[in-house]
Symmetry: C2
Subunit: 363 residues, 2 copies
């Protein structure tokens, strides 16, 4: 083997192609000032002569220089990053919520780190060991119940937490009143004249609560209030669960005349089975959803609309505020839902054909 004469200190082919990014010292040299001045100027700190500031900015622009966040966060402790925890990434809700968060964070130049924590164990693993240490400035938990231990851990680290989609006493959170909304939706069905109103809720397989319990409570309250008997069917999440639920409801001795599904997704399974069974909606049965996702409009589904994008934006807003305040932010942001009445709900057949009379049609 031939010994190649590689003198150290001499540039070799190896270190030439490194496209060395300009550093702050390069900018300083070009602008003819010191490092601190560059730092101050670029950071918008006070105490820099306007002319000097302009000169520094020009030099930076010409060099294509961008401050290294990694380096500055090492000393400031601020990373410019915010973590968003979601149980799933696929469902409509989370995409929309993330879009809201993203929009808000872009406005303040923060970056969005997204973690999918499918079950409580993953969540725990995330909170425990992974990348919290000097990795993010705040955490936004979307439609997620962080356990007490997880929250305690975040507190210990001094990391602000914002809950999005769930009301948590004593914590920064943005939420809608699921219970009241579900009660309102149920009352709408009752007011139409329905008595047998069934509720389809999804089994909580992952240990999280998707506001599921709250909606159930609202339904039950409204039913009790009206003296009607609650009929609750529990199936797996998603439209498949909705389909299973509807199949079960249709095999009851006295099938319901109205079905309130926990979410639009579930409602779609209900609609599918209804259609395939030749059951007219809303003629034979009314169907109510929850969410107002983009398919709901398409299917003419009456549903409860939540301002999901705004929830994301507001949650991000709280997170940013918490970072800036460097102290606890405990705001509760309560957003309104609204009932969107479409074609999937109507007066029950019994009412139309009954003694009340009117312009009802038969056959």
């Amino acid at each position: 083997m031939v010994a190649l004469p590689l003198m150290s200190g001499m540039p070799t082919i190896v270190d030439m192609p490194l496209p060395e990014h300009p550093r702050m010292s390069d900018v300083a040299a070009r602008a003819g000032v010191s490092l601190s001045t560059v730092s101050r100027a670029l950071r918008g700190a006070s105490g820099v002569a306007p002319a000097v500031r302009a000169e520094v900015e020009r030099a930076a622009a010409e060099l294509g220089y961008v401050v290294s966040r990694g380096a500055s966060s090492l000393v400031t402790g601020v990373t410019g990053r915010i973590a968003v925890l979601v149980p799933f990434l696929q469902p409509w809700f989370f995409g929309v919520a993330l879009a809201g968060v993203s929009t808000r964070l872009r406005a303040s130049g923060q970056d969005m780190l997204v973690y999918q924590v499918g079950d409580v164990d993953e969540l725990d693993a995330y909170v425990r060991s992974l990348p919290l240490r000097s990795n993010v400035d705040a955490v936004i938990a979307v439609a997620l119940d962080l356990g007490d231990t997880a929250v305690a851990r975040l507190d210990e680290i001094g990391l602000p937490v914002v809950f999005c989609g769930r009301r948590v006493p004593g914590r920064a959170c943005v939420f809608t009143d699921d219970t009241a909304a579900a009660a309102g939706a149920t009352r709408h069905l009752l007011n139409l004249g329905h008595r047998r109103v069934a509720y389809v809720c999804s089994r909580d397989q992952t240990g999280f609560s998707w506001s599921s319990r709250d909606r159930l409570r609202g339904y039950e309250a409204a039913m009790a209030e009206a003296g009607a008997e609650a009929v609750v069917v529990t199936e797996p999440p998603g439209h498949q669960g909705g389909a299973l639920a509807m199949a079960r409801l249709l095999s009851m001795a006295e099938p319901p005349t109205a079905v309130f599904a926990e979410s639009d997704d579930v409602a779609m399974g209900v609609l599918q089975v209804a259609r395939r069974s030749g059951i007219d909606v809303p003629g034979d049965v009314s169907v109510m959803g929850f969410d107002d996702n983009d398919v709901a409009a398409l299917l003419d589904l009456t549903t409860v609309a939540q301002p999901v994008t705004e929830m994301g934006e507001r949650a991000a807003e709280l997170a940013v505020r918490a970072v800036r305040a460097a102290g606890p932010v405990r705001d509760h942001v309560h957003l309104d839902t609204r009932l969107v009445v479409r074609q999937s709900t109507a007066v029950p057949r019994s009412r139309r054909e009954g003694p009340a009379g009117g312009t009802e049609q038969r056959g």
Copy 2:
């Protein structure tokens, strides 16, 4: 005002509540070794006596110590973060793709930074100034055409780029053959006996390509091959565009007997208008989608399925490899699509009622 005797150097109430995280020196002290040894041990580097390594790990665990990525990336240049660029966050496709990326990155302990770049200007702004400098190790562009200048800029910085959902010569990418898939879907309709097959494509408002052009090409090729005349209707994206398109198609002198929509989302608008117009699907008109999103199954839509989750996973895989290799990775990962035949496509009515005979039903 009373002057408070605050001696510097003396701990005040201000710096006491800071929940000081343990640093590497704390671990070193507790294990009775030096910083370098702790660093080596925790990083799994060679040259540490097994006993010492165990001792260090124990000390770290007891202190709840986690290595600061910020600090280590300052010296190694590796951030452990990968940026994912998406044009939108809401559509089904992106949620699923992100889930794939997330899963793969979790496996190697990388974090996922998500940026929504709604139009080319935002993209440019992102690539140009924002957080690239020592902020991420690689970039995954999902269903996005990075312009040449943007790519050149990333090259300049030395940041690996992986394209997900689009074939880019000379670049790492994972993709499906949209042209072939669209051609296959079109041929399926032609083989059923349809001659007037319309294509609904969405206007590219943002300057991005959603594989739209490729699918159109496949459709046109298959039509030409069969000697059939191409009928292309262009409308805004989403199901609203699909609805508009179907309305236009239905007002033609000779409406098509089959409609091939660029995406399932568009197809849903087509289905909606068909249903509202009392047009039977597939009796009067066949409808074909593209994507196989979760609603397609619900609506019995025949469509082209893409392995979106796998696309995300493979893209992340390439990104991780590029980071490790520290050199260019140019793999092309070609994934297969498949036609999912459901109830929205069938032999055209003319064929069923025509001279071919058979067990067709009338009325």
